[in-house]
């Protein structure tokens, strides 16, 4: 007889007379453990759902209060049925913005840069999300889904703003968003998704931030940077927008205006392949390393192609930003 033990997104089989820890370790699911005889307490965890038999767990290591509070020693406890576990020290999942399926109506489609479109989708009901999160669009007729970040702030909740780059032969872009999509069309949407967003306002200390967006990776950063500056108008913020050439730049006026209102905000477009007068040349991650001598105490935000995100993580660490303060959103290329 075996039961399902679920921990941190993994599910493993555990015999009725098998310790939870043993089942997890044998299935390659690591959790803190040391003595494996119930005396050190390293493997103590929360039983979120289901019941366990504490076996020979000593009361010195697992008190009655802890048992009542749903704690167990993974090296001693046996499942009495399917159980769900949460390792100690990991907080209960934050109350997430609920995921919804909805229908949006195309309000506007505009070409804003080379092979780049802004699409506005009107909603009947406002959407609850955090700036920086994304939504999925269902590509009509194919059942395929594609993910696009929101450029909105959380209060811009009735018209979603997406920035879309043309993918040659892409099912969603070439075949739909850049071909035939028109005002008034209805679009099936799921969202919000993702964890690329600022901490709650109460936990946001207003510290300095650097954001680097590659191409339409600028979209979520536009939502995040406006939210951050509204919370702390004088905070130090640097936003780099990396593109191949001047023709791919967009929203420059919008960001220049924001910089005029916030003297500690800087917007820096960077051109990697097609130099032009008045613009920085190279990769935005290199521009950051040139500009910022130390990023200790900063938070960093990266959205773009995987190579740019990897380079950004390295650049941030090189300037000694704490890794836990590095937030990243990679474009994972969908099949064309």
């Amino acid at each position: 007889m075996t039961f399902a033990v679920t921990v941190g997104g993994n599910s493993v089989e555990c015999g009725e007379d098998q310790a939870l820890l043993d089942a997890c370790l044998r299935a390659g699911v690591w959790m803190p453990n040391s003595c494996n005889q119930g005396t050190c307490g390293t493997c103590k965890l929360h039983v979120v759902a289901g019941e366990v038999d504490h076996g020979s767990s000593p009361v010195e290591t697992l008190s009655d209060e802890e048992r009542c509070a749903g704690m167990a020693l993974a090296c001693q406890a046996r499942p009495r049925g399917d159980v769900e576990l949460r390792p100690q020290g990991t907080s209960a999942a934050r109350t997430a913005n609920p995921l919804r399926d909805m229908v949006g109506t195309v309000r506007e489609v505009s070409d804003i840069a080379r092979d780049t479109r802004r699409i506005l989708l009107g909603l009947n009901e406002p959407l609850t999300f955090d700036a920086g999160q994304y939504v999925e669009l269902v590509v009509p007729g194919s059942g395929e889904r594609r993910q696009y970040s929101l450029a909105n702030t959380a209060d811009e909740d009735k018209v979603l703003e997406l920035h879309v780059k043309l993918v040659p032969d892409g099912v969603a872009t070439h075949g739909w968003l850049f071909d035939g999509l028109a005002e008034g069309d209805e679009v099936d949407i799921s969202g919000p998704l993702g964890d690329f967003h600022l901490p709650p306002e109460s936990e946001d200390d207003g510290g300095p931030m650097v954001l680097i967006g590659g191409g339409t990776g600028l979209a979520p950063l536009i939502g995040i940077v406006r939210t951050a500056l509204r919370r702390h108008p004088a905070r130090e913020v640097v936003l780099y927008h990396g593109v191949r050439g001047e023709e791919e730049l967009y929203d420059g006026d919008r960001l220049t205006e924001l910089a005029e209102q916030h003297p500690n905000f800087r917007f820096v477009p960077v051109l990697s392949h097609e130099p032009a007068d008045g613009y920085r040349e190279g990769f935005p991650t290199d521009a950051f390393v040139e500009d910022v001598s130390t990023a200790r105490g900063w938070t960093g935000w990266l959205c773009g192609p995987p190579a740019m995100v990897e380079a950004g993580v390295k650049a941030f660490k090189r300037r000694r930003m704490a890794p836990r303060n590095i937030h990243r959103e990679k474009f994972t290329p969908a099949d064309a």
Binding site: R26, S34, C40, E66, R320, M321
Partner: protein
């Protein structure tokens, strides 16, 4: 089994303490293959070298704890690692309350994190450091020193003490006549103990009259009738256990984990980027190079046969946990540091009723120290101009670890 069927172990006659201290792995690899329980002449003792035999003896009702001869010569009696029955129960009852997980959780972060930050602040803008002496060892000794009530003893003095006690404790070479081969090797340990007594005795005098929340004050008073304290001669051997192993080993564990990670740059990067991987990195670090490599022992309480070897009652066996953790019967490519190896339990903290009492505290000290290190210096690299040497048979870890980073 008759002796003629046993493998020829005459090669063991050539093994010296210096060989074992420089690198014990080759000798123990051969022991594991040929004789997992064998008499090793230079140690004057039987040695258990495989995972299975170590675990069997550590948890067997036919064995109890005994301190190694050099350990006993260094610590005296009754040290918690070498006693049994009521005395062991009393000493565990004395030390364990402060080390219970719920208790450790209450203060470990507030204790260790500021200490780690303080040492980091001294060198984080330098662009280079020797982490064993500037970070791993100081964080380890300062955290435990403050916990014990030794706030006024400098970290460098605590480091000097554990080093001297270590060399004395592991001065294990025996003559064929059963005498210590290097009696002069105990002198520096004796000197360290004399200095420890000169500093700790007045503190004990103070704690007897004015108890406080320090661990040694609790050891004196907890569970005693009103007006009485435990005798200082009774607790000193266990104080020495702390001043050696508990002071030294979290530093060894951190440094070995770092050396292991430096050998796997992609795994180092993973751990730096995701600090929740640090406990797993440390678990693999202390499996890979076990800080308490071969420092504890058991003694048979009746005639017993283990691994095909008949042992009379009263036979001591040294537990080689550092060897057990390299057992190819249990771990694939055990000499390789691998954050992602199948996460089987290891023996770095021992097993049975003498398993390390400080597991939880040590693991969290190492975790917090490495969290702070990677937070402050996420661009840490090993300075490849300097090599890394490990030393030790009883206790083992890197002797130095030079690093650089861009500032």
């Amino acid at each position: 089994m008759t002796t003629t069927e046993r493998p020829d172990l005459s090669w063991l006659d050539e093994v010296t303490m210096a060989d074992l201290e420089r690198n014990p792995y080759a000798t123990y690899e051969r022991l594991r293959a040929e004789a997992p329980l064998a008499y090793v002449p230079v140690l004057g003792s039987y040695v258990a070298s495989t995972e299975e035999v170590c675990r069997e003896i550590a948890t067997s009702p036919d064995f109890e704890a005994v301190i190694t001869p050099a350990g006993g010569r260094t610590f005296g009696h009754p040290a918690v690692i070498g006693v049994n029955g009521d005395v062991h129960a009393d000493l565990r009852t004395m030390i364990e309350p402060a080390l219970q997980p719920a208790e450790v959780d209450r203060w470990v972060d507030d204790l260790v994190r500021p200490i780690a930050r303080r040492y980091l602040e001294q060198f984080e803008s330098d662009g280079q450091a020797e982490l064993v002496a500037q970070f791993c060892e100081p964080v380890s000794v300062r955290s435990l020193g403050d916990l014990l009530g030794l706030h006024d003893v400098e970290s460098d003095k605590l480091r000097e003490w554990f080093a001297k006690l270590n060399r004395s404790f592991t001065n294990a070479a025996m003559t064929s006549g059963g005498e210590f081969a290097n009696p002069e090797g105990f002198v520096e340990g004796d000197e360290a103990k004399a200095e420890i007594r000169s500093i700790v005795d007045p503190l004990i005098d103070k704690w007897i009259e004015h108890p406080d929340d320090s661990a040694i004050s609790h050891w004196l008073h907890d569970g005693m009738p009103p007006g009485q304290t435990r005798e200082r001669e009774y607790i000193y051997p266990t104080i020495y256990v702390y001043l050696l192993g508990a002071m030294q080993e979290p530093g060894h564990g951190m440094a070995s984990t770092l050396v292991g990670l430096f050998g796997r740059p992609e795994q180092l990067e993973e751990v730096v980027d995701d600090p929740t991987l640090i406990p797993r990195a440390v678990a693999e670090g202390v499996r890979w190079t076990s800080p308490i490599w071969s420092a504890t022992a058991r003694i048979s309480t009746k005639p017993v046969t283990v691994a095909g070897v008949d042992l009379p009652e009263g036979t001591p066996v040294m537990m080689s946990y550092g060897s057990a953790n390299h057992d190819t019967g249990r771990y694939e490519a055990p000499t390789t540091y691998d954050l992602h190896r199948p996460p089987l339990p290891h023996l770095a903290f021992g097993a049975g009723n003498h398993a390390c009492a400080g597991i939880y505290f040590a693991n969290h000290t190492m975790r917090i120290a490495l969290e702070e290190l990677f937070e402050a210096i996420p661009n840490l690299e090993r300075d490849t101009r300097a090599g890394v040497e490990f030393w030790g048979w009883g206790f083992r870890g890197p002797t130095s670890l030079h690093v650089t980073w861009e500032v």
